[in-house]
């Protein structure tokens, strides 16, 4: 028998700081109503927020989507943009290529990708320079 699945996708626009956090807030709100365990919820909240912010800061726009079954939640962050030339380096804590604009807003601490990796049960990142980046995260419920 196939498990019941719920799917959701949110558009994220580049440099749109006014709506920053809306997509992850919507996901969070929904998961609370669904009764997702609070410890898992916190990890998803942090990861989805970081993924959303990364797209706003670095990409030309993308989509944050969530697929949920009663046993797991998958997050996919897919953007069109410059891509990441050295993923190993980008995954190091404190490494950031965020510009002046983002840094002035308090972002660009170089914790985005490390935070996602730490909080997700499974983490996968693929990137192509000049095309874009896809991050897949899995959380067990």
């Amino acid at each position: 028998m196939q498990e019941y699945t719920l799917a959701d996708a949110y558009e994220v626009s580049a440099r749109d700081y006014a709506t920053a956090g809306d997509a992850s807030a919507a996901i969070k709100r929904k998961l609370k109503q669904l009764g997702v365990d609070s410890a898992v919820l916190r990890r998803i909240a942090v990861s989805s927020y970081e993924a959303e912010l990364n797209m706003i800061i670095h990409s030309l726009g993308g989509t944050l989507s969530m697929t949920m079954t009663p046993s797991e939640i998958r997050l996919l962050s897919a953007d069109i943009g410059p891509g990441i030339p050295d993923i190993e380096q980008a995954l190091q804590e404190g490494f950031s290529t965020a510009g002046e604009e983002a840094r002035n807003l308090g972002f660009g601490a170089g914790m985005g990708l490390p935070n996602m990796k730490r909080n997700a049960d499974e983490f996968n990142i693929q990137s192509e320079v000049g095309k874009g980046t896809q991050i897949r995260m899995l959380f067990h419920l």
């Binding site: 498990e3 019941y4 719920l6 956090g21 992850s24 807030a25 969070k28 929904k30 609370k32 109503q33 669904l34 009764g35 997702v36 609070s38 410890a39 919820l41 916190r42 909240a45 942090v46 927020y49 949920m68 009663p70 935070n115 419920l141």
Partner: protein, 434 residues
Amino acid sequence: MEDKRFHSVRLDKDKCRGCTNCLKRCPTEAIRVRGGRAHIIDERCIDCGECIRVCEFHAKYAQTDPLATINRFKYKIALPAPSLYGQFKKLASASQILEGLLRMGFDDVFEVAAGADIVTRAIRERMRNITPDQYPIISSACPAITRLIQVRFPELISHIIDMRQPMEVAAMVAKREFCQKRGVSENEVGCFFITPCAAKMTAIRNPIGQETSAVDGAISMLEIYGLLAGHIKNYPSALNLSRATAYGVGWANNGGEAAAVCPENSMAVDGIENVIHVLEEIENNKLRDLVFFEGAACTGGCVGGPLTFENGYIARNAIRTLIKGADLRHPDEAVKASYLTKYPLQTTKKITPNSVMKLDDDIAEAMRKMEEMEAIEKSLPGYDCGSCGSPTCRTFAEDIVRGHASKMDCIHIMKDQLKIMAQKMVELAKTTRE
């Protein structure tokens, strides 16, 4: 004494006009208007008092203990909240208020500000054993904020400091010291908190961090204001009854606790909507470097409570002026270390999430309801007008899924339906005429 269903915030049905003012302001979406009257969903209400403040018709009120209840006890002790000091202008000392309370008929007074001093020192000692991965530590002083976290931010419960509120500590110390001094038994003594808000009243009847409250009742500041004012003399007597430090009294204002507990790295936020925004940031791990967070449901802190008499900003200034003449020592120095060992200051009961927002206990069923709810939401106009009696279109969709409302409660959908029906009537009339 504990009553799980007890809520201080109540509705006076005769005064309610069924408007949408309170509906829109409730931070936990706990109000619905049905049959022309507001209804409070008990399980969701956190007793913050926003609806009391916003209701033009005074249909929302706080149930507190009438002053006469103090007569249930042979000996009565008043526990004035620090915010009471902000209700009177041109005081030379807090002692004037304390003396006034004695003249009113209380056998003794114990300042909740002195309780705040003890709690300040206790929290500082406790914080030494809290590791940075549990930062920011969240204040437990405002019961409405604690309940807000239970309902809307369950994942932050572990951040709440496991320390009793100053009111509880004041009651424990006051009772024991009075009994020792007078040689009477504890059950002859009643401790009454003079409260600025409904949330504290609820915290006494239905405590959050412990099984039972040490406080025997809460009397509204508004109720005793006139009587007390008549008993306050222009000058304090020679006996200075005030034992609280400027730090303890400072808890009346938002930021007072943070300044006393963690001046090095803390943040104080007031107004429940503002607190919600910052809790969202904490939830997203954006305030990793913050050590202590103080949130107050009321604007300005307790001085802005719904049961206060004076304007919150004026009261805040009165407190600032008053504490200049108070004991300026930090509680670390002013509070005897023995208080920390003699009394159970830490909370004993675990705070649990309030899962009332959950659509269903079974996650697959909750998902099914969520899908249904979102499909309904898409068919609604999205005006969030409140005419259906639910605060937003989304909550209306939720109410339908939960079986508490029907789609025809939406006047816009109803209007469209009527239009279609009218059209059909016209067509029917035409065909029958021919």
